[in-house]
Amino acid sequence: MAERKKPKLAVWKFASCDGCQLSLLDCEDELLAVADRVEIAYFPEASRATVKGPYDLSLVEGSITTPHDAERIHQVRRMSRFLVTIGACATAGGIQALRNFQDVREFTSLVYASPQYIETLKKSTPIDEHVPVDFELRGCPINKYQLLEVLNAFLNGRKPNIPDYSVCIECKRGGNVCLMVAHGTACLGPVTQAGCNALCPSYHRGCFGCYGPKERSNPSSLSERFLQMGWEHSEIVRAFRSFNAYAEPFRKESEAHETKS
């Protein structure tokens, strides 16, 4: 093939646990092949060398929680031809968005001895509340095969095969016995987006929603079922209030039950 100029890849971090970008280093079998096809131009977790922008593809991890980051994301956008957000923090605000339901000043003083040193925003927000995003890869953490698929699709100019349907589809394709129906175990699979290959149900554990709401998610019907199964409203609030708590369908559902609990 003709020697093409390698596209430049940048990996950015905002408030997060680093797990999603680590997924790239966890592609042990493919990492060197990836490095062959793209120029890893900015990836502080992996390299102290940096190549100046603009970048062809930016992977953005983490949510916006400080005034400084709210500025920085605009710079990142300006430097990036194609911007992909990775993980629940970047796509939904992450676990740290639990602060959005409470008074952050109180949080800070609970946690830090000298809260005056801490500069933070009231809310933890997903990247697309600040800048346009070209593609969102969900998950807490993302699935490394899905990440490779996104890179691959980008390199080949095609649409990534990242479905937005329910976890149940993957669960059933995998031949699992449904936990909800056969064991009476509460499972968020029917309202959660696929991508993990129905990991939790495969381990006999109800899905707890790491990939956030599927398209046309209908959490209120599922909650109704949970109530019939003996759940309390407060349990429903907690179930929808985890890593994707601030994603709208989950947020609304937890708020609806908060008033009842």
Binding site: N156, G157, R158, K159
Partner: protein, 278 residues
């Protein structure tokens, strides 16, 4: 070749020419790259075109059915696969499966007036009809083409349209949604041209292709003129993953668009066309 036997295996076709039609639309001429070729097609049928590693999409055949060996496709770049097609160059190879689906009723049209109504890229699947009408002109009554385009710049097949317009035995009217530049022609939706068109509503065949909403109003207008629904044909579009009736995506009420369609006689689908989200 074993590959031939499975209907999901694309056959390699080499791009002979790439013709730019408008800003976002282009025409590919394809010839078999490895000897094997797909069977003959009828006006209105489509092929599945595959770009290596990118994906496969259904595209109508826009060439002349009587010209064998060559395949002509006119494509509007709207998404990932069609945009990748826009970047293709002569000499490259793409995959072809087909031809699939039903065709325009050229047999029934014989001896009748023929009204061809197209909107936007909808002219592409109707071009084989026009080629046939012109070629066997004497077999048909009046031949009328009504074509609506978004702007004058989006008009497809300009040279051919001009040629047909100059023929004394064809009536060609073009309208644009939005006039720009030096456009002095009709402005407005294509349905407005229907009442003025000189055809015999009681002895005609109408063939309509374009966006669903445009087809719906065109048919209303044709019916107003007195054209019986059995004489009106439209071409439908749905998502397709296989084009051979296995994937289920193209279902439209009781039909598979890849099998019973894309061309339907209007009364087949009348009860569905005015329903939302069918």
């Amino acid at each position: 070749m074993a590959a031939r036997q499975d209907p999901m295996i694309p056959l390699p076709y080499r791009i002979e020419t790439v013709q730019r039609e408008t800003g976002d639309t282009f025409t590919l001429t394809l010839v078999p790259a490895a000897g094997d070729q797909i069977g003959p097609f009828a006006a209105g049928q489509f092929n599945m075109l595959y770009i290596f590693g990118v994906g496969e999409v259904p595209i109508s055949i826009s060439g002349d059915p009587s010209e064998s060996g060559k395949l002509v496709h006119t494509i509007r770049a709207v998404g990932s696969v069609t945009r990748a097609m826009q970047r293709l160059k002569a000499g490259q190879v793409i995959g072809v499966r087909g031809p699939f689906g039903s065709s325009w009723p050229l047999e029934q049209a014989q001896g009748n007036d023929v009204v061809v109504i197209a909107g936007g890229i909808g002219l592409a699947p109707l071009r084989p009809v026009l080629y046939t009408l012109v070629k066997y002109r004497e077999r048909f009554g009046k031949v009328i083409l009504l074509y609506g385009s978004r702007t004058p710049e989006d008009i497809l097949f300009r040279r051919e349209l001009e040629k047909w317009r100059q023929r004394f035995d064809m009536e060609v009217s073009i309208t644009v949604d939005r006039a720009t530049g030096r456009w002095r022609g009709n402005v407005g939706v294509v349905t407005k041209l229907i009442p003025r068109a000189p055809f015999d509503p009681y002895s005609c065949i109408a063939m309509v292709c374009g966006p669903e909403i445009m087809m719906y109003y065109s048919v209303l207008s044709l019916k107003d003129q007195g054209v019986p629904t059995e004489c009106i044909y439209i071409s439908m579009e749905r998502n397709m993953k296989c084009a051979i009736g296995f994937c289920g995506h193209c279902q439209y009420g009781p039909y598979f668009i890849c099998k019973e369609g894309p061309v339907f006689r209007y009364d087949q689908v009348e009860s569905l066309l005015n329903k939302r989200e069918i």
